[in-house]
């Protein structure tokens, strides 16, 4: 429902009493309202929807999710080896419970 895109905060300022910032989306720079992310700092990434930053991207969780995907590749190779040795496949779901 909601087109929201990650961008990196380049600068922060006050305008009409509202916390605003310049946010860079892969080379496209726009003014974004940062009022809802009082803790966000220059260099951080945020999800932006209709000109408002609504969520700071948690780098640790992002890394964790990507690690999960990478393990899937290793797991698939293991599964392929297991199948070759004719052993039953093991479900992968238990290995990837949500990050805290």
């Amino acid at each position: 429902m909601c087109l929201a895109v990650p961008g990196q905060v380049e600068s922060i300022r006050d305008e009409h009493g509202i916390r605003m910032g310049r946010v860079n989306f892969g080379g496209v720079v726009k003014d974004v309202c940062l009022a809802y992310l009082p803790e966000i700092a220059v260099g951080d990434y945020a999800i932006v929807h209709v000109g408002f930053a609504i969520s700071k991207i948690d780098e640790a969780s992002a890394q964790e999710t990507l690690r999960t995907f990478a393990e899937l590749g290793i797991l698939e190779e293991e599964l392929a080896e297991l199948r070759e040795s004719d052993e039953p496949a093991r479900p992968a779901a238990d290995k990837t419970e949500p990050a805290p």
Partner: protein
């Protein structure tokens, strides 16, 4: 773009799809609630790399599509007035009201402007004190912080020429309505990641418990969606029905509390009609009484504007997954993407429009 490109890798997508195939032992119908997720699923062809056991049902989560005909007719009436400037998100312009759309009103002399952000409408009101600036405030919970702040800002600056026509809708009541509707086939939900980034995830465990359905908070990129589906299927196959968060880099349990506070101040719950579905109790937000002065419905005389949805349209049944688009008698006849009768034909990602464009019957 960082935080997007990493979640589009084709090899990993195939592995996730294969993993879903290994997990799924029987048919499951999973609804992605959010229109943005539907868009991504169709755009990337994700539905086609899923195993045949998994059916994705496209839910009612496009705020443009579900905005009731009556609200659009009211917006058209406001836009026709010579003293007003109607500001809208771009995708609302094409949505037809009972007789015409905002493009037609603009062509007839109405001042209709596309804005990227509701703050642009406030800026316009500031610079044009001679005109009434009305913002068509549609959206789910994700858009509410932006719209709420626009009203707060207008109030603080005493911008008497700014108002909003509000048609906000909420996800949890829609999930409840779908689960309680007769003929419902939905086994599990992908919850909308960006809605949850604002509201948190705490609203969903009670729904998962009450209806016995897994609910997995899911992002929008291909790998996010496949991961959400994978976790959903894993729960289904094990007979579990829990809330899981598969989008933790953006969504926390508590959500954005600063945004929630402003929403709570500016908006109040209201029963809301959804195009093609009907009225769902407490499924929307209106302006709170303290901000009633900014309510366009009060500022302009809109009484007498009512609209009947087409009796031919069965988009509600399509949205619930009860019928396929082509099973609707109006499909491809009275109802096409150029002459849409209901929500699901309005947007190009709506289930009916997607079927129509694909030439599927």
């Amino acid at each position: 773009m960082k935080h997007l490109a990493e979640y589009r890798d084709a090899d990993t997508a195939r592995r996730l799809a294969a993993e879903i195939g290994r997990l799924a032992t029987r048919p499951w119908a999973i609804m992605e609630v959010c229109g943005g997720q539907t868009h991504s699923i169709i755009r990337n062809g994700i539905d086609q790399i899923l195993p045949p056991e998994i059916e994705m049902i496209h839910g009612p989560g496009c705020p443009v599509c579900v905005t009731p005909l009556e609200t659009i007719d009211k917006a058209l009436a406001i836009a026709r007035r010579p003293e007003t400037i109607l500001c809208s998100f771009g995708d609302m312009l094409r949505v037809p009201g009972s007789r015409e759309d905002l493009f037609a009103v603009k062509a007839a002399g109405g001042d209709v402007r596309v804005v990227y952000s509701p703050l642009d409408a406030v800026t316009l009101a500031r610079s044009r004190p001679d005109r009434e600036v009305v913002f068509l405030a549609i959206g789910f919970e994700t858009t509410a912080p932006a719209n709420a702040m626009a009203v707060q800002l207008a109030a603080r600056e005493g911008l008497a020429n700014f108002s909003m026509l509000v048609s906000h809708v909420l996800v949890p009541p829609a999930i409840r309505a779908i689960m309680m509707s007769p003929g419902n086939r939905v086994n599990a939900f992908l919850a909308a990641g960006h809605v949850c980034s604002v509201m948190g995830t705490w609203q969903y465990p009670p729904l998962a418990e009450e209806f016995g359905v897994p609910i997995v908070v899911t992002g929008f990129e291909p790998l996010d969606l496949l991961e959400g589906i994978r976790r959903t299927v894993a729960q289904l196959e094990r007979g579990r029905h829990e809330l899981e968060n598969a989008y933790p880099r953006v969504v926390s349990e508590r959500g954005n509390e600063a945004a929630q506070a402003v929403i709570a101040e500016v908006f109040a719950p209201v029963d809301r009609a959804w195009r093609g579905i009907g009225v769902i109790p407490a499924s929307g937000w209106r302006l709170a009484d303290a901000y009633a002065g900014f309510d366009a419905e009060r500022r302009f005389d809109l009484t007498g504007i009512t609209a009947e949805e087409s009796p031919l349209c069965q988009s509600g049944e399509v949205l619930k997954g009860a019928i396929k688009p082509s099973q609707c008698p109006a499909f491809g006849k009275e109802c096409t993407p150029r002459t849409p009768l209901g929500a699901t034909m309005v947007s190009s990602e709506g289930a009916c429009a997607a079927y129509y464009n694909a030439g599927r019957t």
